[in-house]
Each structure stands twice: as structure tokens, then as C-alpha cells.
């Protein structure tokens, strides 16, 4: 685990050193497009986008994970209509492109109520769109997690006098979390990359910026830097999740 994060950092540093030095080695000037100064300038420009991507990422997680639990409960509800609504919601969210959903959330109010499109709303629309979409995926992950807890756990809890809510909170939920962690990790890694889809509503995140700079300077390097950013971000996410998985794994203690 420690080894892993060390080697990731080493790789990152290596790549960071390698790119500029190979560039100079290949005869790039020290000023202007392709120079070292230009390269750092690109990074500074991109960092605003990095920040936007990170914000989108964390806010989406914060909203979609609890929302997913709610959708999961609705789906398992004994009230039939509630279950049907949740099922339809999940199937639409998973069955249509995220990009389309973003467009609907962003332009929907404008077409329906003629409310003006603001830059501010662009940000909210991105968060709302992502959260709604990811909630559906998380709901399904939670559902499989709950189903993976054997019936005998409910029965043991019942005989020991646990109430329904105690049974869920103390017995089922912790086991469910452990069982779904690998699936959640997958989903989070996908989210890191999916944040780039926010360009669909002209939300300026990392990837949008990289593309702009790349086009303006006619150099592909900014896109590589963006790629590196996603890669490192995901490496951090994976190793964090692995640490959490190990912490929660009561079969390995």
C-alpha cells in the first residue's frame, strides 16, 4: 500500500521532469510555445480548470451518494408506486447519455420558463446533472450491496431484539458498505473522468481549458498535461479507496 503510493509519486515526478526536458532536448526554444516557461504558464492556466474539476468532483460525490441511498430506499419501498418511480428514474438516468442530461438540466429552465442562462447557473446545472446521474448508479450499487447481506443476518438480528432501524444501521449497513467498496471505487474513478463531460454546457473545467489552450497555441502538450492530471487524480483516488477497503475488511484482520 505504502509502496504503491510511493511509486505513483515517483512516476508523477518522473513524468513531470521528463516532459519539459525531452522538449528542450528535441530543440524547443526557451521562450514561446513549447518552452519551459510556456509549459509552466500552461500549468498555471490549467490550474483554474483543475480547481473547477475538483469542485465538480467532490460536490457530485457529496450530493449523489446520500441521494443514491434515498433512491435505493425508494426502490425497495413497500409502497408500489414509490418503487416504480425509483425504477423509472434509475432506468432513465442509466439509459440516456450523461451529456444529454446535462443539457436538459442546463437548458430545461430556459426553454420551460424562459429564465435567462447565467454563468452561475452553469455551475449549478453541472452539479445537479452529475449528482442526479450518479445517484442512480449509486442506488443500484447500494441495492446490490444490501442484497449481498445474507438473510440469516436479518434473522439473527430479529431474534436478538434489534428494531428494523437498528438492524439496518448496525448490522446491514456496515456489511453493505464493505461489500460495495470495489464497485464504488470504480464509480468514483469513472466520475473523475466524466467531469470532463461538463464541457457540454460550456462549464470551464480542466479538459475544456486544456483543449482551448491546445488549440490557441497549436500544441498538444496541454492535453497531455490534462491527461496526466486525471491519471494522478485517479491514482490518488484508487489508493485512498484501497486504504479504506483494507480498514473496513474484517476478513483480513
Amino acid at each position: 500500500m505504502k509502496k504503491q503510493s510511493k511509486s505513483i509519486i515517483a512516476a508523477a515526478v518522473l513524468i513531470g521532469l521528463l516532459i519539459p526536458s525531452t522538449m528542450t532536448a528535441c530543440g524547443f526554444e526557451n521562450t514561446g510555445t513549447g518552452s519551459l516557461g510556456w509549459f509552466f504558464d500552461v500549468i498555471v492556466q490549467l490550474s483554474a480548470g483543475m480547481w473547477a474539476s475538483l469542485e465538480l468532483f467532490f460536490l457530485t460525490l457529496i450530493f449523489s451518494m446520500p441521494l443514491g441511498l434515498l433512491v435505493c430506499f425508494m426502490r425497495r419501498s413497500r409502497i408500489k408506486i414509490v418503487g416504480i418511480i425509483a425504477t423509472i428514474y434509475i432506468s432513465i438516468m442509466r439509459g440516456t447519455p450523461l451529456m444529454l442530461q446535462l443539457l436538459v438540466v442546463y437548458f430545461g429552465p430556459y426553454f420551460l420558463f424562459k429564465t435567462p442562462l447565467s454563468t452561475e447557473y452553469r455551475f449549478y446545472a453541472a452539479i445537479i446533472g452529475f449528482s442526479l446521474n450518479y445517484a442512480a448508479y449509486f442506488a443500484e450499487i447500494y441495492r446490490s450491496g444490501i442484497q449481498s447481506v445474507p438473510q440469516g443476518q436479518y434473522e439473527a438480528a430479529k431474534v436478538l431484539g434489534y428494531t428494523h432501524s437498528q438492524t439496518f444501521m448496525k448490522i446491514i449497513f456496515p456489511q453493505m458498505i464493505r461489500n460495495i467498496l470495489p464497485a464504488v471505487t470504480n464509480e468514483i474513478i469513472t466520475l473523475v473522468k466524466d467531469t470532463s463531460l461538463a464541457f457540454a454546457i460550456a462549464f470551464v473545467e480542466m479538459f475544456t481549458l486544456a483543449k482551448q489552450i491546445s488549440a490557441a497555441d497549436s500544441n498538444i502538450m496541454p492535453l497531455f498535461v490534462a491527461g496526466l492530471f486525471y491519471y494522478i487524480f485517479n491514482a490518488v483516488v484508487s489508493s485512498t479507496m484501497r486504504i479504506i477497503e483494507n480498514k473496513l475488511d474484517y476478513t483480513k484482520r
Binding site: 445474507p150 443476518q153 434473522e155 439473527a156 436478538l160 431484539g161 437498528q166 456496515p174 456489511q175
Partner: protein, 252 residues
Amino acid sequence: MKLLEINNIKKSFGDLEVLKDISVSVEEGEVVSILGPSGSGKSTLLRCATMLETMDAGTLSYCGEEAVRDVDGRSVYASKHDIKRIMNYFGLVFQNFNLFPHYTVMKNVTDAPIHTQKRDKAEVEQEAKALLDQMGIGDKLDYYPCQLSGGQQQRVAIARALAMNPKILFFDEPTSALDPELTSEILKVLRLLASEKMTMVIVTHEIEFARNVSDRVVFMDDGYIVEQGRPEDVIDNPENERVKAFLNKLSK
């Protein structure tokens, strides 16, 4: 005093009539073994008695308190509040233990008394330690279930049930998931409990054990009790043909 009284219980799953008409009662301090071929409804009877299944007809009471009464031939359950209280009279030990895998041995045993019976934590922990010591796993308090052998897990499960201070303890084939050499350690624990006059109802395929430990043997077949009585009568001199056939097959 009758700790458990079941009268004319009936239970079907869809079209399958599993319990046809069963009445049985258990006195305080009695050890009752339930024998019978696979599919005869032994587990279903235990699950109805412990309210993991709802029965279709018949009555059920513990210590004279009615959990299920009969209204026009249908079972009617007492209020949630009453059921919750009555559930404290009994415990159940499962064939596959059903320990909570994310809790340590100690927490498996103490969590329910503390959080569902609202008993004092220090007192419960002290009792739990004594119980686990008695079960021979006093040195495994901080282990997780996956780190224990099947026999040890089942002993934790028994301690967990006992920590609730039940008046009567049900066992559904407590040794069936265990290797033969681990079976004996569980049977030893059951013998110990019997010697302490713990009231127990044990579904088992261990004929020798049933003969040695139980005060009464109940033989079930096809949803009925076909014979019951002292073990030396039922096991050594059965009257019913099906009991004879079953025991013959086992002794071969």
C-alpha cells in the same frame, strides 16, 4: 411451569402444507430433541416458534403469555409491543451461526443485551466474559468470526444467545455445518447447559446425543408429530413404523 406451549399449529408455503397439526409444550428445565427425516418440517416448526415465520393457524405462548391466539381457526398475533417483550423469553442458535462478521466476538455477544435490552454495559461485558470463558473461548474476545473455526463460531453464537438471558433456547441442527471432530465440542457445551438445567429444544440428527441428553424426544414426519416420549422408549423401542425405518436407516 410450561415455558412454551404450541397448539394445533399449521403452516403452508403456497400449496405445500409443511406443518399439518402440531401441538407441543415444554416444561421449565426440560431438554427436548426433535428428530425426523429431511423435509418433515422441523426447521419450520422452530421458525414458527421463534416468529421468524408467521403461522397460518394455531396458538403460541411463552410462560403463559399469548404471542399468537386463535380466532376462528386463524392465527392472530399479539401487538408489536407484546411480541417484543415475549421475544425476550427465547433465544435461537442457527445451523450456520449467523454471527455478525463485522463485530468482534465480544461485541457479537454484548451488543444486543446493551442496545436492545438496555442493560448496563459493564455488567453485560462481565457476564459475556464469564460465558465465553465457560464456552472455552475466553481468549478470543477480540477476534472476528472469520478468524475462528466453525466450532468456535458456534460457541460464540451460543454465548450470544445466552447473554440475552432467555428462558428457553432453540437450536436448529447446531452441529450440521461442522466437521465431525468439531461436532463433539458443541455437544459438550449442550451437555453442560443441560446439566445446568437450561431449557432447550434441539433439532438434531445426532441420535446418540439425543438419547443421552434429552428428557424427551419428539419425532416428526410429514408435518405431524408421529411419536414422542422418553428417549429410551422412542429411540430404542419405537412403536411407529416410520420411526423404526428412520432409525434403522441411520444405524446402518
